[in-house]
């Protein structure tokens, strides 16, 4: 069943651009330390350091060919109760949308999983990395959450945390009461305000109003300034008829 992947989160972290003395946007560039010469993308390679300053060069083609055939597909291996996966595993979300000709299979899988309350566990290789994912079905839409592998998580003993001790009953009760008085039935995402961005935008607006430190530069040709509306793209992809 061919599907397309789209990130399930917008990048909201307000990034600042590096500008030159006249306000022109700067570019990051690799250079050879010895000669001081700037290097283009085709003048650099990827190396794994096997010994101090000794590298094994690995090409894109080799990385691609190292992916086992089966893992190039999202291979559903198992279905588990959707709420049984501890959150320590979750990394990033991607919406799956049906590619041309697979709408029916997509709807079938989404409906079956949602009705049974199950999530599918799968692995696949994308851009030189293997991913373990849990696929959830919500409102007829499939979403893959990439997960950490078990050996990427530390155990309490790895960290050196003390062994569990018997806690005084009275203290446990005290905490239970504190929890009860602050208990809410639902989680409201509005509690997760982004103060960082808010205060930055406030300052930007203020400076803009004062016309303080505003610079304008000529658009460079081919500059990528398109604002991508992910939700619009997703809607189109979910509704695309062939």
């Amino acid at each position: 069943m061919p599907v397309s992947l789209f990130p399930a989160q917008r990048s909201t972290r307000t990034s600042l651009r590096m500008l030159g003395p006249d306000g022109q946007p700067l570019a990051r560039k690799y250079f050879a330390e010895k000669t001081g010469k700037d290097l283009d993308a085709d003048e650099v390679v990827r190396g794994y350091e096997v010994d101090k300053e000794k590298f094994v060069i690995v090409t894109d083609e080799e990385l691609e060919r190292l992916a086992p055939e089966k893992t190039r597909d999202i291979d559903l291996k198992q279905f588990v109760p959707a709420d049984s996966i501890p959150p320590i595993y979750f990394e990033r979300g991607y919406f799956l949308t049906p590619a041309a000709g697979s709408q029916k299979a997509y709807k079938l899988l989404a409906e079956t999983m949602e009705k049974s309350g199950l999530a599918g566990i799968a692995t696949f290789v994308m851009r030189g990395k293997e991913y373990l994912v849990a696929i959830f079905s919500e409102k007829g839409i499939l979403r893959a959450e990439t997960m950490r592998f078990a050996d990427e998580l530390r155990s309490p003993s790895d960290i050196g945390l003390p062994k569990k001790k018997e806690a005084p009953k009275a203290t446990v009760h005290k905490f239970e009461k504190l929890i009860s008085t602050r208990a809410k039935k639902q989680f409201s995402p509005s509690k997760l305000e982004d103060k960082q961005t808010e205060s930055l935008l406030k300052l930007v607006k203020k400076k803009q109003a004062n016309r303080a430190n505003v610079v304008k530069v000529e658009e460079e040709a081919g500059a990528d300034h398109k604002v991508v509306d992910l939700v619009q793209i997703l809607k189109k992809s979910l509704g695309a008829r062939k």
């Binding site: 588990v80 997509y106 960082q196």
Partner: protein, 262 residues
Amino acid sequence: MAARAIWKGELKLGSTRLPVKLYSAVQDRTVRFHVLDDRQKKRVKQHMIAPDSGDEVPTEEIQKGYEIEPGRYVILTAEDLEKLQPPASRDIEIVEFVPQTKISQQWYERPYYLGPDGDEKDYFALVDALQNKESEGIANWVMRKKYYSGALRAVDDYLFLFTLRDANEVILADELTKPSGTAPTQKELAMAKQLVEMLQGEFNPKEYKDEYRERVMEFIDKKARGHAPRLKAVKAKSKTTALDSVLAKSIESLRKKEKRAA
């Protein structure tokens, strides 16, 4: 070897304060490559250049700007940026508690262990209370000059603090439209249900290994010793077939596997 705490703070729950140490729960195992100069096979450095002239701009001349519209920037000085930093604090403020299943997987970003910093009785009492109540706390704190929101949870007798994504960062299924296309038939639904049930089990994370990472490391190792194996080219995908025949085939092969295992 015990890990080093990356931060120390105090859980603030009403008038109760619980000193804790924060540790990363994640051990990064990504195969890390260096960018090398193709001719010298030496590590490269990076600098900032003006794209039109190609000239290097030294660090002290670089300004930071926020783009308000294409090509228009508001310059933020070092002073401005310093003013934007949140006031330093050690408090991890717990604002409320919600039932453990209420936060969708989409919000979780990074897990940290919290370890007791001093009193262990209070620490494990909070673990017990959170587990008994099947609740997790919503937390706000400032760490390393940044604001964080997160969830406080007890997992297997220890406290975890998860960073959560910002409110407008996550795209929810509610914002999207259901995929179009014809609805599956009853027969197809029954077959799909059967297939899913045959593959149903418990989540056992240890079953899954990053095989690709192992293959890459093995390849690097062989190449380092001078005999890299020849790798086959990637084959094209096979074409898709009718849905019900795929389903029937999958069920059949799973049945055979089960029989062999029995």
